[in-house]
């Protein structure tokens, strides 16, 4: 029984020591709003990226603006990185709540604490694995990244909704500055929990005062530390979050947005690096296509039911060539514009009487990849900008960029811009 009161006193003293001016409900609400917006943005852009890769049968996607996927996924990754300072700051404001006494007051209180535990753990894991995925550090994950990241996104949004619901009265009280702070900058205190009595239960039972023992003396020492003025402390806290967030965007977003390229110190990718000045994800060596892609008898086979036609590299070059400027935009968030040249996809499938508004199955020479075979919907197939590209920046494709021929289409993720083409099949 004494242990219970010892733990309770320890929790109370810890919570009391952790109190700080910026650890208050108003700060939690302000940061919660920003974090909530960042989570919703990453969730929606993440869903877009998921479904454009694995569309449901009825789904149709926009092919304009050509930068739609580039911007959507760039925002996904940048907002994900921005979540780091926001979530650290949010957790800082509520950290003393971890030491509530008693830890569980009722069943609803247990459910609330359990939902917050799931919310915090899944959020921390989600942003960490997302960041590590852009570094391609898969060896750290004892689980498949893409599927886990997708499942956790629903867990986060679900536990966020429950968290908002349970905290709604507090959120409403501290939503507006004029309701949350007094004219002289002090926090308006609404209903608060009563402080446990100074004469706590342990003291009543044993006579042991609060500042007794090593822990008691440590807490007393902490209590004697001067406190910073609330307003200076709060302003410093929010200024820190703002500067950290702005610096992170400025120094990492260059991988997704050219405007930040000059200040890209920490992005996982850098524009103008890689073969032909363009980054690469999967190399020819890793895709095991070094021999098959350079074989002299390579042909691109185009089929529509029983009708089949094979094109040599020279025959593809003899077709009308079109030049387009399109971004290659990776699911990992990096992107870069490039000039591509080659025959239009719809003109190629027309040689086997394929309708421009067909779905086309695209097969690569690459080995051991779940993206070796992909399907392209009619909205992309009939688009004038969708090419079977042979040239990049006025030169034949580098083998790491898909030589002899690759797909390039507007507003489509890089992983679906199939390299080292082998066959194109008109499906419908």
């Amino acid at each position: 029984m004494l242990l219970k009161w010892q733990v309770q006193r320890l929790l109370h003293q810890t919570r009391h020591s952790l109190a700080a001016p910026s650890r208050n409900p108003r700060a939690a609400v302000v940061l919660g709003r920003l974090l909530g917006i960042a989570f919703i943005i990453t969730f929606l852009t993440g869903l877009y990226s998921h479904f454009i890769q694995e569309p449901l049968p009825w789904m149709v996607f926009l092919t304009r603006p050509i930068w739609l996927y580039q911007v959507s996924q760039g925002i996904h990754i940048t907002a994900g990185i921005l979540c780091f300072p926001l979530i650290f700051a949010k957790l800082y404001t509520i950290f003393p709540e971890l030491f509530q006494t008693p830890p569980v007051r009722s069943f609803p209180h247990f459910l609330e604490r359990a939902s917050i535990t799931v919310f915090v753990a899944s959020s921390l894991v989600q942003i960490t694995i997302g960041l590590l995925n852009t570094y391609q550090w898969y060896a750290l994950f004892p689980f498949p990244f893409r599927q886990t990241h997708y499942a956790l996104s629903f867990v986060i949004i679900g536990s966020l909704a429950i968290h908002i619901a349970l905290k709604l009265p507090v959120i409403a009280q501290y939503w507006r500055k004029r309701d949350a702070l007094t004219a002289d900058g002090h926090l308006v205190e609404h209903a608060t929990e009563p402080e446990p009595q100074r004469q706590d239960e342990l003291q009543r039972l044993t006579g042991k005062v609060q500042n007794a023992g090593i822990t008691g003396r440590i807490f007393e020492w902490i209590d004697r530390s001067p406190t910073l003025p609330p307003q200076t402390s709060r302003r410093g806290f929010f200024a820190t979050v703002a500067v950290a967030s702005a610096a992170l965007v400025t120094l990492t977003a260059g991988q997704s947005f050219r405007v930040f390229d000059a200040t890209n110190l920490f992005g996982a990718r850098k524009n103008d690096t890689g073969p032909q000045g363009l980054p690469v994800n999967r190399t020819a060596k890793r895709a095991k296509v070094l021999e098959s892609a350079t074989a002299p008898d390579w042909q691109l086979t185009v089929s529509n039911g029983a009708s089949t036609k094979s094109f040599s590299y020279e025959e593809l070059r003899a077709m009308p060539q079109h030049e387009v400027v399109l971004p290659i935009a990776c699911v990992e968030g990096w992107s870069q514009y490039a000039t591509w040249k080659g025959p239009r996809l719809k003109e190629l499938i027309a040689t086997v009487d394929g309708d421009p508004s067909s779905t086309v199955r695209i097969t690569s020479l690459e080995q051991g990849s779940s993206y070796a075979q992909t399907t392209m919907g009619p909205e992309f197939v009939r688009d004038d900008l969708t090419l079977v590209a042979l040239d990049l920046e006025g030169e034949p494709l580098d083998i790491d960029h898909g030589y002899p021929a690759r797909m390039i289409a507007p507003a489509r993720p890089g992983v679906l811009q199939t390299k080292w083409l082998s066959t194109l099949e008109v499906l419908s």
Binding site: T192, E195, T227, A244
Partner: protein
Amino acid sequence: MSITTAPEPVLARPMTTTRRWQTGLILFGIAMLVVGAIVLLNDVAPKNYIGIAIWFLGALVIHDGIAAFAIFGVSILMRRASRKIPFVVIAILQGALAIAAIFFVIVVPAMLKKDIGSANTSILPLDYGLNLVLFYAGLAVVTAAAIAGYLVVAARNRSRA
């Protein structure tokens, strides 16, 4: 120092707008959790669940058990230092340390992974270690300038008074 605590979470009284929002959000939240569970069961093999659980536990232990207390320790030292150093200088120093820590968390994994090796040279192409040192040097300069600026203004205000 007083503790400002949020009221105990309770559902608002029936028939209020708040209660309706709460109910709707909770139902939506449960639906999303169910979707997440279904996706997990369908797309992730059961042998991986223990790995996910270890990551969840690890995240909580590293954040709540280690990082948050380390930050608390630093803030106590700062509070004690405020006996001799002006409050604003302490606040600026704390902010700079927090920013340095956040960049450490983001950049050091990139540095380590680059050392281990990447699938090709266009992945992690930058010199992250050097850039982090440069960033910290810049942060130190800006911090020093902010402190100097504050001290000059404070001294001017004192002399006017």
